[in-house]
Amino acid sequence: MGIRFILMVNKQGQTRLAQYYEYLTLEERRALEAEIVRKCLARNEQQCSFVEHRNYKIVYRRYASLFFLVGVDNDENELAILEFIHLLVETMDRHFGNVCELDIMFHLEKAHFMLEEMVMNGCIVETSKTNILAPIQLMDKTY
């Protein structure tokens, strides 16, 4: 597996979505999120999108007020993860229509369902937006 966790954090540093693919205790998660947020949010636009943290890397990208942070193994292709973050945002955009922090907050479970269709156990499942969103749209229609 390549992806260890995916975080969405607003620019105040509040977590808006967290999905871990390895087990961490509550305390570990809180500490990790605080450290990462402190490290990444302090960086400016010109600096690169990769930060080395402990024994792995964080690939992050900022969209308006929302940061997408992905923790990956050291041998993972950083540029591909960057592209993957963009795919994730585009997918959410297609569903929510210009996704924003509030969409994710108030539809947390939906955001998770989308993520589930894209990443499983740290591996990429699907890269087609249509295929990713199909089960979610089906659900919306049914209920």
Partner: protein, 874 residues
């Protein structure tokens, strides 16, 4: 109703949490919500279960405990409806920890759902299993997953493939069952199935040699063709990113080819053409294209040699390195690190660019570049590269200095062509970033200096100069102080001048000045101060004209609150004042430190010291606790080589405790560390380290045997007997008393106030305690009590400790006792001084509770009593 349209109350809760201004307010809202959810759980509320779980997931994300909701997940999973199951599985993946017993309960539901007629429910179960399954579950459910790898719907096949990865990771011996179905997935057209199938194959190759061989034989060609088709595929809107069809699939395919090609010429040969095509044809103006190029370079670097491809790959990295985009430069540095093992020469060509990256504004790039420079350095380029790095050290960020310093030190040590260059570079580093230098590094500098007899003078003069400008760099100060102490005469007399040096004029008093500044500087820590005291002692012998002044400086620390400094001050003062005859032999120049032994010791202790704080390391190393057997226990600066000139052969070693400058930061702690040692270790430690108490007893013994023939106890005997290895502070007074007893008289006794009658404060069948009282003039509240302990029994008492307690209106201060061994039948006694301050002087009289502990015939004895018979008016 629709549970996913976020029923009003979930929305309300999120709004309420958002509206919170403080963390405390948020905690309040969450606490209330959790209470309500717990109540609903207790009532077994079915209608709102999914909504409660959705709330819990939000609360969980905020970082609050939600374990009480775990069973709710299981209930939802077990219910019939798809919406309930969906949220139940999501909750399972988010809220459950790895407590197997709860997880085991879900195995049955999972099994049913994996066989469900609704494929979406099958998908849910696969996803949950792929994310959280344990080894037992993997064993139980592997047959279901295997079957689902051939399911008609590709969306199930792709999830089953990833689920298989989890299974073989948890239970590697199941890998072979998945080889055939995984190979079948590689022939699929559906991108989701293909990308997951490729990932499964990659994992199988890692898990099983057999799988690797199989895929190499049967699938390499097929994969090459798949990649070729993908590269040449016409525009596919659904997968297109910046004109490239599915870059993610490209990358996974390249990764699998890398695994297959590594170590196999035929497979490597087979993929040469397509790799060349990807490397030359991929557009490099967008991130997606660069991601593919990057992966392609990684594959070219890993597979079996093909000169042409390697050149191509290095050229791509060269282009990356000069790119303006920091992301691209970062990955280039990252990849050059791997390329260096393949083609170091090619990487060397980019040295100048890489060196520029070390100075980049971006910390991530700097870090990568520094690692790379570190591996690029060799004998031929070490001088210019080190110069660049040291120059940059001046202007670098504070938080980068630590890394940079460590790397420079390591390089200088590894590649230094000559000692003078080494000393020059290390002095630059110490002056520029001495506070970031690790203990073992500045220790090594001293070792190297002592090993270069022709450079002693040069080094001490250079250090003296450096100290003028960089007195705030702690480790520089230490090295300088040590060298000035050792080679002060060379400093003053310009001995051993090299041609490259400018002569300097330093007087003896200048040299003492600079040590005094180090001693008194506010940033100097205990180790530095203690080293400075020792250096002063050495100079007092080297510079007789300054001896008196040095004595005055040393005496100032007699009242230091730091035990170590106080003790050193008292000891050194005694040596200067009363032991002129042995002083010059005592402070002779250190013998050359054994470089090999030191390096051996370093390599032995590196696992212990890396990652620990310097203070910590200095406690661990000298004690020998961290590395009991292999490394010699000699501490660098404590120099116990046998050829040390010593005043008396039996006591010589003990005296090194006195010369030892590698203090443990916390004397108490290191004392405690000794207790688990066995006898010989304790002895070695005594000789190699100077925890205050032990050096004390060693000195007292030395002086005993040297001056007082009435106690014919060899120091070694005393040291090796466990009881004398006591860690109680009480034993430390011995040396002071002994040293003081050579003085003509004690100043305290001269100043005695009005006399009070002595009393027998305590008497039992075994023990008598007598108290003598005196008062300091002008301070009637304070009474000085001299307690004398006399053994009335025919057995020796060891480990003797006296403790006392007083009521609140009194303040009690116990000085260390004169010893902790009480000879039998009142032959000798132990004395101890107590100072009692009576805040109710004149109104209340003294009262005291006492407890005496000792060992008689190796049995612990405890005696207690209360003393009420103090004379009136104390």
């Amino acid at each position: 109703m629709n549970p996913f349209s976020s029923g009003t109350r979930l929305r309300d809760m999120i709004r309420a949490i958002r509206a919170c201004k403080t963390a405390a307010e948020e905690r309040g809202v969450v606490r209330k919500e959790c209470a309500a959810i717990r109540a609903a759980i207790n009532e077994n509320d079915n209608d709102y279960r999914h909504r409660n779980l959705a709330k819990l997931m939000f609360i969980h994300m905020l970082g609050y405990p939600t374990h009480f909701g775990q069973m709710e997940c299981l209930k939802l999973i077990a219910s019939a409806g798809f919406p309930e199951k969906r949220i139940g599985y999501l909750g399972l993946m988010l809220l459950l920890d790895e407590r197997q017993e709860v997880l085991m309960l879900v195995t049955n539901s999972l099994k049913q759902d994996l066989n469900h007629s609704n494929q979406y429910i099958v998908g849910l179960a696969l996803c949950a299993m792929g994310n959280i399954c344990s080894a037992e579950m993997a064993r139980d459910l592997a047959p279901e997953v295997e079957r689902l790898l051939q399911f008609r719907d590709p969306n199930i096949r792709k999830k089953a493939a990833l689920c298989s990865i989890r299974i073989i990771k948890k239970v590697p011996e199941l890998a072979e069952n998945f080889i055939n179905p995984a190979a079948a997935l590689l022939r699929e057209k559906h991108h989701g199935v293909l990308i997951t199938g490729v990932q499964l194959c990659t994992e199988l190759c890692k898990a099983s040699e057999e799988a690797l061989e199989y895929f190499r034989m049967k699938c390499t060609e097929g994969l090459v063709k798949t990649l070729k088709d993908l590269v040449n595929s016409p525009y596919a809107p659904e997968y297109d990113i910046a004109g490239i069809t599915d870059p993610f699939l490209h990358i996974r395919l390249l990764k699998l080819l890398r695994v297959l090609g590594q170590g196999d010429e035929d497979a490597s040969e087979c993929m040469n053409d397509i790799l060349a095509q990807v490397a030359t044809k991929t557009e490099s103006n967008k991130n997606a294209g660069n991601a593919i190029l990057y992966e392609c370079v990684a594959t070219i670097m890993s597979i079996e040699d093909n000169g042409g491809l390697r050149v191509l790959a290095i050229n791509i990295l060269g282009r990356f390195l000069s790119n303006r985009d920091n992301n691209i430069r970062y990955v280039a540095l990252n990849m050059l690190m791997r390329a260096i093992t393949v083609d170091a020469q090619a990487v060397q060509r980019h040295r100048a660019t890489i060196l520029e990256c070390v100075k980049d504004l971006d910390a991530s790039i700097r870090k990568r570049a520094l690692e790379l420079v570190y591996v690029l350095v060799n004998e031929s380029n070490v001088k210019p590269l080190t110069k660049e790095l040291i120059d940059y050290l001046e202007v670098s960020d504070q938080d980068f200095k630590g890394d940079l310093t460590a790397k420079i030190c390591s390089l200088v040590k590894k590649f230094s062509p000559e000692k003078i260059w080494y000393i020059d570079q290390m002095l630059k580093v110490l002056s520029e970033a001495g506070n970031f230098v690790k203990d073992e590094v500045w220790h090594a500098v001293i070792v190297v200096i002592t090993n270069s007899p022709d450079l002693h003078g040069y080094a001490v003069r250079a250090l003296y100069r450096a100290l003028q400008t960089s007195a705030d760099q702690e480790t520089l100060v230490r090295v300088a102080v040590w060298c000035i102490g050792e080679y002060g005469d060379m400093l003053v007399n310009n001995i051993g001048m090299l041609d490259v040096e400018d002569p300097i004029t330093v007087t003896e008093s200048d040299a003492v000045d600079i040590i005094e500044i180090a001693l008194k500087h506010h940033t100097s820590d205990l180790t530095t101060k203690a080293m400075a005291l020792i250096a002063l002692l050495k100079l007092s012998s080297r510079f007789p004209s300054c001896s008196e002044r040095i004595k005055e400086i040393v005496v100032q620390y007699k009242g230091s609150l730091v035990l170590e400094l106080q003790q050193r001050s008292i000891e050194l003062n005694s040596i200067i004042a009363k032991h002129q005859n042995i002083r010059s032999t005592l402070v002779e120049r250190m013998p050359t430190l054994d470089l090999l032994e030191w390096e051996e010791k370093q390599s032995g202790s590196i696992p212990n010291t890396t990652g620990s704080t310097p203070a910590h390391a200095s406690i661990n190393i000298p004690n020998g606790v961290a590395k009991p057997s292999s490394a010699p226990l000699v501490d660098l600066l404590d120099l116990n080589s046998d050829d040390v000139p010593a005043p008396s052969s039996s006591g010589g070693d003990s005296f090194h405790g006195l010369l030892d400058i590698d203090l443990s930061g916390a004397p108490k702690q290191s004392g405690v560390n000794h207790s688990p040692n066995n006898g010989t270790d304790a002895l070695m430690d005594l000789l190699s380290t100077a925890t205050p108490t032990q050096s004390r007893s060693a000195i007292s013994d030395l002086l005993n045997s040297g001056q007082d023939n009435k106690t014919p106890v060899s120091p070694l005997e005393v040291l090796s007997s466990p009881s004398s290895n006591s860690i109680q502070p009480t034993s430390s007074a011995g040396a002071i008393d002994l040293l003081d007893s050579f003085a003509t008289n004690s100043p305290i006794q001269e100043n005695n106030g009005p006399a009070y009658p002595s009393v027998v404060a305590f008497e039992s069948s075994n023990l008598r305690i007598g108290f003598n009282f005196s008062k300091l003039p002008g301070n009637p509240q304070t009474t000085i009590i001299k307690a004398t302990f006399t053994n009335l029994s025919p057995s020796v008492y060891t480990d003797f400790i006296f403790q006392a307690a007083v009521p609140k209106f009194l303040q009690l201060h116990l000085e260390p006792a004169s010893g902790n061994t009480l000879p039998a039948s009142g032959n000798e006694s132990i004395t101890q001084t107590l100072r009692v301050t009576n805040s109710q002087h004149g109104k209340k009289s003294l009262v005291m509770r006492i407890r005496i502990a000792y060992k008689m015939n190796n049995k612990d004895v405890l005696e207690e009593g209360q003393i009420n018979n103090f004379p009136q008016g104390l």
